[in-house]
């Protein structure tokens, strides 16, 4: 067959006559005879032509696709088969790699996050918490009622006596448009003003605070930090910053699974929170009614936006209410009526505060 060749040295065109044998093609290029084994040839389709090259070499040969097909039908067919086989192997390899990454991200990282959290030096966790708190104070400024804040601080200090933790439990009431409580790394526990308003008895508030303190003690907070770090970084890294097909889908799927604590961690914090209260002689009966009331709201169809937030980060409220009821023991109230009034007033803003001064 006839073809056009380039020698890989200059941009000149050589008209060549190509001979095809069962294992190679050959043609004369300048002074040299080119002998290309079929096993070394790579084929690139170009419309009604094909461009052939020998792996790792600059020379090129372009022939009519029809001629090449005729030649390839008998002898050069392995070239096309080899190409298909290589692609199949690539896709299978990538699929296995993807499955391994998913396994690592969704099984390995959560499994490793517990030991990693326990190995994290408390000092590191504390300074991480400082940074979080510094960033959070713009979104969730502390409530202005100093007396109420002092009482909450003192309660946090008392909780430490019943706990096995190197951290300083620092309870703080913050302004935020939702009913919720969260623990930061390093021992800070934030309670929103809406949650304080929602709590009907000191026992209920004490139960929530003890629950969050238990998350700190059990290093659940640090565990969540490691998990979200691992999930986010690995998925972002694999997928890259691009916006191409599929990339956003994968990132979205990753963010959905990033629940704050696992159910086991929540159950553990419930039980441990009650234990801490009991060890200090406080009532541990506040958790069940609080959870039941919020969940009841939802069942009656009253989906208040703030309450939904609490329920979505504290799942299975009714089940946990029942479980905690079984463990509940009566005890002293965590706050005196006077203290309770101060706490309730802590987030009510400036006017109430100045009148109580």
């Amino acid at each position: 067959m006839r073809g056009k060749a380039h020698d890989g040295e200059t941009a000149a065109v050589h008209e060549v006559e190509v001979e095809v044998s069962s294992w190679a093609i050959s043609f004369r290029l300048g002074d040299e005879v080119q002998l290309w084994r079929l096993s070394e040839i790579e084929v690139e389709p170009l419309g009604d032509q094909v461009r052939l090259r020998r792996r790792g070499q600059g020379a090129r040969l372009t022939v009519a696709a029809e001629d090449w097909r005729a030649a390839a039908a008998g002898d050069a067919a392995p070239v096309a088969r080899r190409h298909r086989r290589r692609e199949r192997r690539l896709v299978i390899g990538l699929f296995i790699a993807a499955a391994a990454i998913l396994l690592f991200v969704f099984v390995g990282v959560p499994l490793a996050s517990g030991p990693l959290a326990r190995m994290t030096p408390p000092l590191l966790e504390e300074s991480l918490g400082e940074t979080y708190a510094a960033q959070l104070q713009f979104a969730f400024p502390p409530c202005a009622g100093e007396e109420g804040q002092d009482i909450l601080h003192a309660f946090g200090d008392r909780l430490e006596d019943g706990m096995d933790t190197p951290f300083n439990i620092l309870v703080e009431a913050v302004e935020a448009p939702m009913v919720n409580a969260f623990a930061l790394p390093g021992g800070r526990v934030l309670i929103t003003g809406d949650l304080i308003a929602e709590a009907e008895t000191p026992d209920e508030l004490a139960a929530v605070i003890a629950h969050e303190a238990a998350h700190v003690e059990q290093r659940h907070v640090m565990q969540a930090v490691w998990r979200s770090l691992g999930l986010g970084m690995i998925l972002d890294a694999v997928v890259g910053g691009g916006t191409g097909a599929g990339q956003q889908v994968v990132l979205l799927a990753g963010s959905v699974t990033e629940l704050r604590y696992s159910r086991e961690a929540e159950a553990e914090a419930d039980a441990r929170g009650q234990e801490i209260l009991q060890a200090l002689g406080y009532s541990s009966e506040g958790m069940a009614p609080f959870f039941r009331r919020l969940a009841g709201d939802e069942q009656r169809g009253e989906r208040r936006a703030g309450v939904m937030e609490f329920l979505s980060t504290h799942p299975d409220s009714l089940g946990r209410a029942a479980a905690s009821e079984g463990r509940a023991r009566p005890g002293a109230p965590a706050f005196s009526p006077e203290d309770w009034r101060m706490i309730k007033a802590a987030c009510d803003g400036a006017p109430r505060r100045s009148s109580s001064d």
Binding site: D7, R28, V33, G246, V250
Partner: protein, 360 residues
């Protein structure tokens, strides 16, 4: 065996560039790439991208001879792994600095400055990789010059654009194009970039239109938002109608800005093309604002309605659109062009890929 002979070709051969991509053939490729991306957690994208480039190059003809793209998916993949490693180091640094306390945030600032230099570096490295994997008649392109100095230049020019409130932007764009083309080589021959020729294309009129139009439409949208926020029952999270209005306004602003920037985009493309020279060949790009608008509109619709799946089709369409409007004036002696020993970088444009910067 019969003698081979060098096809007679005049020492001065005129040039004709033609992009013959059959767009319908990219539908199947788009589907294949998209599905394999989903199946492999998008790891297939490097090979998918390589196949798209190979096809676009192979359907681009200069004097009836197709270009050749010889890049490999594996090269892009390795480049990506390297970039990921570097990004990880960067993130760990930022994370570690945060542990030093709130004031340490000041230490992060220089890191972000470094990031801008890195973006320039990545653009140059990606261009270098593309050039080195492009050949025509078996002769490779390659890039001289340094990606680091391009990164520094990029940083300086971005600062200049910032302090001039954008008014230096046309100057910046030409300055950024210059090293990319002036360092490009085909075999042993060099491309040149003539700032004088590039400046013959007037860009400041269209730029002023874009700048003032941008400010005015931004002010209009900002006023709209202010009016919205002043209303007593303003609650963007709770009211879907308000949310929809916000998105609609943002979209409107985006489209409006795109529309008034079209004359400038077209003028800048013409200007850069006009600056490019090769062995006495001059380049002209015959493209106007309407044509660019048509190209962008089609691309946006294709991407939005296919959720990104038709990206390969969009890339082929863009290449065909622009390359077929390129006119090459002058003649070249191809027999005198020799291969260069330079073989280019070993791995792909990882950083550019990580920043979403590679052109195709």
């Amino acid at each position: 065996m019969p003698e081979s002979m060098v096809a007679p070709e005049a020492a001065g051969t005129p040039l004709r560039l033609e992009q013959r991509a059959k767009l319908s053939s990219y539908l199947g490729l788009s589907l294949k790439n998209g599905l394999l991306n989903l199946l492999t957690l998008t790891l297939y994208r490097f090979w998918g991208k390589t196949e798209v480039r190979r096809r676009i190059w192979a359907s681009t003809y200069l004097n009836e001879e197709a270009f050749e793209y010889s890049g490999r998916g594996m090269e892009l993949f390795i480049g990506f792994l390297i970039a990921t490693g570097l990004t990880l180091v960067f993130l760990l640094l930022v994370f570690g600095i945060q542990l030093l306390g709130p004031l340490a945030v000041l230490l992060i600032l220089p890191l972000y400055v470094g990031l801008i230099v890195l973006i320039g570096f990545a653009i140059y490295a990606a261009f270098r990789y593309l050039a080195s994997r492009t050949a025509w008649r078996g002769v490779r392109f390659h890039m001289a010059g340094s990606a680091v100095s391009y990164g520094l230049k990029y940083f300086g020019l971005m600062i200049l654009a910032g302090v001039t409130l954008g008014w230096a932007w046309p100057f910046v764009e030409r300055k950024l194009a210059e090293p990319l083309w002036a360092n490009l080589r085909f075999g042993d021959r060099r491309f040149r970039f003539s700032p004088v020729a590039a400046r013959k294309e007037k860009v400041y009129g269209p730029f002023a239109l874009m700048w003032f139009g941008g400010v005015v439409s931004y002010a209009a949208v900002a006023t709209f938002f202010m009016g919205l926020a002043m209303q007593p029952d303003f609650d963007p999270a709770g009211d879907p109608a308000v949310l929809a209005a916000i998105y609609a306004a943002a979209l409107l602003f985006g489209l409006l800005f795109l529309l008034i920037s079209l004359p400038y985009r077209a003028a800048m493309m013409r200007s850069v093309a006009r600056g490019i020279q090769f062995d006495g060949v001059k380049v002209r790009l015959k493209i106007g604002a309407l044509a660019v608008g048509w190209l962008y509109l089609g691309n946006i619709l294709l991407i939005v309605f296919s959720l990104g799946f038709l990206m390969p089709l969009v890339q082929a369409r863009s290449a065909r659109f622009i390359l077929n409007r390129l006119v090459l004036e002058g003649e070249v002696d191809f027999g005198a062009i020799h291969q260069s020993a330079e073989s280019g970088p070993r791995q792909g444009e990882g950083l550019a890929d990580a920043f979403g910067l590679s052109i195709i």
